[in-house]
């Protein structure tokens, strides 16, 4: 495209600034997590300081974050797994039989403000004595995960040729058999994309757990939120807690970058 030296210089400078704008705040948070509260206040110790694990001790010891990591992980894995079981066949049918109206019903879930569902959910689930249980959190997070999975997988199945499925039937498989033995193995990249993305969305979800979780089933975002609200903020511990929530997802995204990007942009470039 453009090859003038001036543009090349501009591009390098712009890219460096962009990377800095996105990375520096995160680095600041992670560094603060390893500082004492005194050092966080001290401008001369911005980069050079004696790292401490005191904040992490506090977060795991007094604030019980070990349990919340388990809660968040368990709920995200269960919600993703169950949503894949329900969503992958649904996406296949909706793609094959061009069930656009049905797909619209599922996509409604992405449009509706979660708050407007929460009062009825709270009532319903408290009648069933489920509020505060893992089940209610898994179900509510499935509400986030399932539409995402259907959406991504529909795009993926749209890209697989119909002839492939038919060839299985020529070889004597039933239609369900050819879905199971042919289409499913072929769609592993799509399933990986949908699964990773739905794990991230569930892990990051705040609103549903804020209302529906109990003290034993609290997820990480709610636990961080509960950290504030006292008179003075323990910045070191708060940053340690924020780092604990964010880092696993970020490390995961380094390895699964390709899948995450293809999931986030799924369907966006179709006419």
């Amino acid at each position: 495209m453009i090859t003038t030296t001036r543009y090349k210089v501009f591009r390098v400078v712009a890219l460096v600034l962009i990377v800095a704008a996105f990375i520096v705040p995160i680095v600041w948070m992670v560094l603060a997590a390893f500082k004492t509260n005194v050092d966080i206040y001290d401008a001369s110790k911005t980069l050079i300081f004696t790292p401490t694990f005191e904040n992490f001790d506090k977060v795991f010891g007094q604030a019980n974050f070990g349990q919340y990591i388990i809660n968040s992980g368990l709920i995200a894995v269960a919600a993703t797994g169950l949503s894949l079981v329900l969503g992958v066949p649904a996406a296949f049918a909706m793609s094959r039989f061009v069930m656009n109206k049905s797909a619209l019903v599922v996509l409604m879930a992405r449009v509706i403000p979660g708050v407007s569902l929460l009062v009825p959910w709270y009532y319903l689930f408290s009648q069933l004595r489920l509020v505060g249980s893992y089940w209610v959190l898994i179900l509510s997070h499935m509400f986030v995960a399932l539409p995402l999975i259907v959406y991504i997988m529909m795009g993926f199945f749209d890209g697989l040729p119909v002839e492939l499925e038919e060839s299985g039937q020529v070889d004597g498989l039933t239609p369900i058999g050819s879905f199971w033995y042919l289409m499913l193995p072929l769609s592993t990249p799509g399933i990986a994309t949908a699964g990773i993305l739905s794990f991230i969305f569930s892990w990051n979800n705040f609103m549903f757990a804020l209302v529906l979780s109990g003290s034993a089933t609290k997820t990480l975002p709610v636990a961080i939120y509960d950290f504030i609200g006292y008179a003075s903020i323990d910045w070191g511990a708060l940053m340690a807690a924020s780092t604990i929530v964010t880092l696993p997802i970020m490390i995961m995204s380094l390895f699964a970058q390709k899948y995450i990007v293809s999931g986030l942009t799924a369907g966006a470039t179709k006419g």
Partner: protein, 307 residues
């Protein structure tokens, strides 16, 4: 096709024949039922609540009061209309900057270059970061006394600002946080769109001696327009519903002066801080109407662009 040979044709049971014939609904049914139950029942119920004076406990008796809540809410200039204003302002401002920066960064990343991988990882990080944690991170960075931002602007002789703590600066600061986190989303979508464009029109334009601006104005942007509107739509829906970073940054009610209270936060507060279910349902129904209306307008625009 080895699997097919192993399993071979075998006599089918009546159940299998039935299952295969109805596989369409067998596959799609459970998902649709799940979503339907979790949406339709609550929406109908929320609508019913909006016509009652329900408050206090979810199990308490309530009376049908017709459209009284709607009259109250629509004439409420203390909380409701300011919240509508903030929602519209927040969404408009963040969308403008996210689309602008998102497009700019996407154009910068479009053609291959050295270190591409590093840049792509960097723009992915804000996107996957937990919004509540992002809110806390910015609370520290914008803290008036210990945050680095006031120190940084001090170098340029700008006096320290209250940022999130200020009555008039809080909302713009949360807008900045949202723009930081979601610009990469727009970049990724537009980048996917740019990569899918064919090279021919660009080569033809270059042969004809078109300037860079002309190429962008008459070729790149028109070809990208449909994708641009998809990005606008996806971000617009989520921006209207912004919740996590606002609550993380300012807490209940969007701060003590409701500085950042949007419709979503207001509805949440009415439901779970004040237990005013009738009023909150009314606010949420009106909010929902605003969202669906915006989507309707944008999808119409998108169809026009696709044509």
């Amino acid at each position: 096709m080895t699997t097919a040979v192993i399993h071979g044709p075998k006599p089918q049971s009546a159940l299998s024949v039935w299952a295969n014939r109805h596989r369409r609904w067998l596959f799609a049914g459970p998902s649709m039922l799940f979503i339907f139950l979790l949406i339709v029942f609550p929406v109908v119920w929320t609508f019913w609540l909006s016509l009652t004076d329900a408050s206090g406990s979810v199990r308490a008796e309530s009376n049908f009061i017709g459209l009284a809540n709607y009259v109250d809410v629509l004439t409420d200039t203390q909380r409701f209309w300011p919240a509508v204003g903030r929602t519209v302002l927040f969404t408009g401002v963040v969308l403008f900057f996210e689309m602008l920066f998102g497009l700019g960064i996407a154009l910068l990343l479009w053609r291959p270059f050295k270190g591409e991988r590093l840049v792509r990882v960097a723009i992915l990080l804000p996107l996957v970061a937990t919004p509540v944690a992002v809110g806390m991170m910015w609370r520290l960075i914008f803290d008036p006394s210990i945050g680095p931002v006031n120190r940084l602007i001090g170098v340029f002789g700008i006096p320290p600002q209250p940022w999130l703590a200020g009555e008039s600066t809080a909302l713009p600061t949360t807008m900045f946080m949202d723009i930081w986190q979601w610009t990469p989303m727009v970049t990724l979508i537009l980048l996917a769109g740019l990569t899918s464009l064919s090279d021919e029109p660009f080569e033809a334009a270059r042969v004809d001696g078109a300037s860079q601006w002309q190429i962008f104005r008459y070729i790149t942007f028109p070809m990208l327009k449909a994708t641009f509107i998809v990005a606008l739509l996806l971000r617009g829906i989520d921006a209207l519903k912004t919740f996590d970073i606002l609550l993380a940054a300012k807490g209940k009610g969007g701060g003590s002066f409701n500085e950042v209270e949007t419709l979503n936060l207001y509805g949440y507060g009415l439901s779970f801080d004040y237990n005013e279910y009738g009023t909150s349902s009314t606010v949420l129904i009106l909010f929902f109407v605003i969202i669906v209306g915006s989507i309707f307008v944008l999808t119409r625009k998108r169809e026009e662009a696709a044509r």
